[in-house]
């Protein structure tokens, strides 16, 4: 409850700052439009205006301020414009329509989930290997770190082309990229988690003469659950970013990435921002969902207090 009030306060403050920022950001464009519409603006000379800062322009042309919040293609759209667009393209539209953000979110989401599943599966397998094999630990782990320094967007087109050439199109290439981004946090978290049982707990199993499979299922795996979920939450947002990145070169067919691209291509700032927020909201929902699953699972396991 207290958190909610705090969050709302911060959001409100940010919104106010945002509205204020719109004024200097957009004033120059607004003045050009106003001038074309026949209004007199100061300074009248375009070149001189360009050399003047946005704040000064706003002060000299206060009549134009309201217009900075209602431009059609602003540099910085006002919050209500973004919210309006979001509303219009989600609730206000049939979700099967290609103009509906929900449709595009679904396209991205399906790639995200597939990629997340692949990445998580791979990450867990790798982590199991690393924990159980010293060779893998010593040789693979450093390269896993290096792999994260490679800019994925540089690889994305190539991954897609390579997958094209073996006949994979559509959702799979996107999912592969999203898996590439999500596997790393899972590996790191899972290795940590599988190693979290202390020596005493492992020794206990040895006194029972338990096999290493029994040790895995009865000790390491349950002990790793909190770590797994912490990294799953990071992994799923990474997955989403991966799916969006994968949508750019695949031809911007559909999905949030395509919306971003098309918006950017046609200078539709409001559309970019709404797609951007759509993506962030989607990420928040996915993380929230994982949080719920975590709570339920840990409660069933008796680890939630």
């Amino acid at each position: 409850m207290r958190s909610l009030v705090a969050v709302l306060t911060v959001v409100a403050a940010l919104v106010v700052v945002w509205y204020l920022a719109c004024i200097p950001m957009n004033i120059a464009g607004v003045l050009v439009e106003a001038e074309r519409a026949g209004a007199t603006v100061t300074p009248t000379d375009g070149a001189e205006r360009r050399a003047t800062s946005g704040i000064v322009l706003a002060a000299k042309n206060s009549f134009a301020i309201p217009a900075t919040w209602a431009q059609e293609r602003p540099r910085l759209p006002a919050p209500d414009q973004v919210v309006n667009e979001l509303w219009k393209t989600t609730v206000g539209m049939n979700i099967t329509s290609k103009r509906s953000l929900v449709y595009h979110a679904w396209v991205t989401l399906s790639a995200t989930l597939l990629g997340f599943a692949i990445g998580t599966g791979l990450g867990i397998l790798l982590a199991v290997g690393i924990v159980h094999s010293r060779v893998m630990d010593m040789s693979v782990m450093p390269w896993a770190i290096v792999s994260q320094t490679i800019p994925i967007i540089a690889l994305a087109p190539m991954i897609i082309v390579v997958l094209y050439s073996v006949g994979m199109q559509g959702i799979v290439p996107k999912a592969v990229i999203s898996a590439y981004l999500s596997f790393f946090p899972v590996v790191v978290g899972m290795v940590k988690g599988l190693r979290s049982p202390d020596a005493m707990q492992l020794d206990l199993l040895r006194t029972y003469n338990a096999s290493s499979a029994q040790g895995f299922w009865k000790l390491r795996l349950p002990a790793s659950m909190p770590y797994l979920f912490a990294s799953l939450k990071i992994g799923i947002s990474a997955s989403l970013v991966g799916a969006i990145v994968g949508e750019l070169p695949t031809g911007a067919v559909a999905g949030l990435g395509a919306r971003l691209l098309a918006g950017s291509y046609y200078g539709q700032t409001v559309q970019i921002w709404s797609a951007l927020f759509g993506a962030a909201i989607l990420a928040a929902c996915l993380v929230g969902l994982l949080g719920l699953i975590e709570r339920a699972l840990l409660a069933r396991m008796g680890m939630a207090r």
Partner: protein, 281 residues
């Protein structure tokens, strides 16, 4: 086909050598710790080379490592120019500004429970904004040169750093805080003598995460508009020119730069947080 078969052999051989090293009596010496991943890397390169040659993979799909190395060696001036534009100017300045701002913000936020509760969820939300959406906007705002790349990096590293630092500042145990109280220490004394040192492992965690983010951010941002220099610029135009060897040479630069950057931060971490159990072995 024979080459592909040789690739399999190389793989098995590399793996066997590593297995022998890792299980051997020297397994814990620094030399072996370095050698094992290196051998693994070399094995992969060997397999790659042999597979590409053996299966006649077209150059424009995947060049062999030897070609990439040749291109790397032959383009050092260009690579250096791109490196200094993207990494030294874009990534580093963004990294310093972003991490610095996040650090100061964290100290502010930490003073007020209200701010912390309010800001962190919002911060997490903002951090989820995908870079491919924010980068074009920032390029539009800050122009085509490295400033906009730095801005992208700032946006990318700010929240991971903030979250880690805030968590770190709360890391001091109740007992350690109480001790400060019994001394009647002021807020700043408590901050400098207790909470900052205790936060160091977390701060470094944030700094480490931020290194790779900074690199990726600066390179990716160049895809959305840049002058005619920079690693991202080179990668994207080289793909268009089908100069895949150049693309991979830049990726090698990125990987080396990333690893070195990460290594430096990790080294700094080792000296600063020498006292932390994780650094003590």
């Amino acid at each position: 086909m024979t080459l592909a078969f040789a690739a399999l052999l190389v793989w098995i051989l590399g793996w066997a050598v590593n297995g022998w090293l890792a299980r051997g009596p020297m397994a814990n010496t620094p030399l072996v710790r370095l050698a094992v991943p290196l051998i693994f890397g070399l094995t992969i390169l060997g397999v790659w080379e042999l597979v590409v040659r053996g299966l006649n993979v077209p150059l424009v799909i995947l060049p062999a490592p030897s070609l990439i190395a040749a291109r790397f060696a032959g383009s050092l001036p260009v690579l250096w120019e791109d490196f200094s534009q993207t990494i030294l100017k874009g990534a580093l300045s963004g990294y310093v500004i972003g991490c610095g701002a996040a650090f100061l913000m964290a100290i502010l936020v930490d003073r007020s429970d209200f701010l912390r509760r309010g800001l962190l969820p919002v911060g997490n939300f903002v951090a989820a904004l995908p870079i491919v959406g924010t980068a074009p906007i920032l390029v539009m705002w800050f122009g085509f040169d490295w400033q906009s790349k730095a801005a992208v990096v700032v946006v990318m590293v700010f929240f991971p750093m903030l979250v880690n630092t805030v968590a770190g500042l709360r890391e001091a145990t109740q007992m350690q805080r109480d001790l400060m109280q019994t001394y009647g220490a002021s807020y700043w004394q408590g901050l400098v003598k207790l909470r900052l040192p205790a936060a160091m492992p977390f701060i470094f965690n944030g700094l480490k995460i931020s290194t790779t983010l900074a690199l990726i951010g600066a390179i990716v941002a160049e895809f959305f508009g840049s002058p005619t220099v920079g690693m991202g610029f080179r990668i994207s135009t080289s793909v268009g020119q089908l100069a895949l060897d150049m693309v991979w040479a830049e990726i090698v630069v990125a990987a080396i730069a990333g690893s070195v950057f990460y290594g430096i931060v990790a080294l700094a971490e080792k000296t600063v947080t020498f006292w932390h159990p994780s650094q003590r072995r």
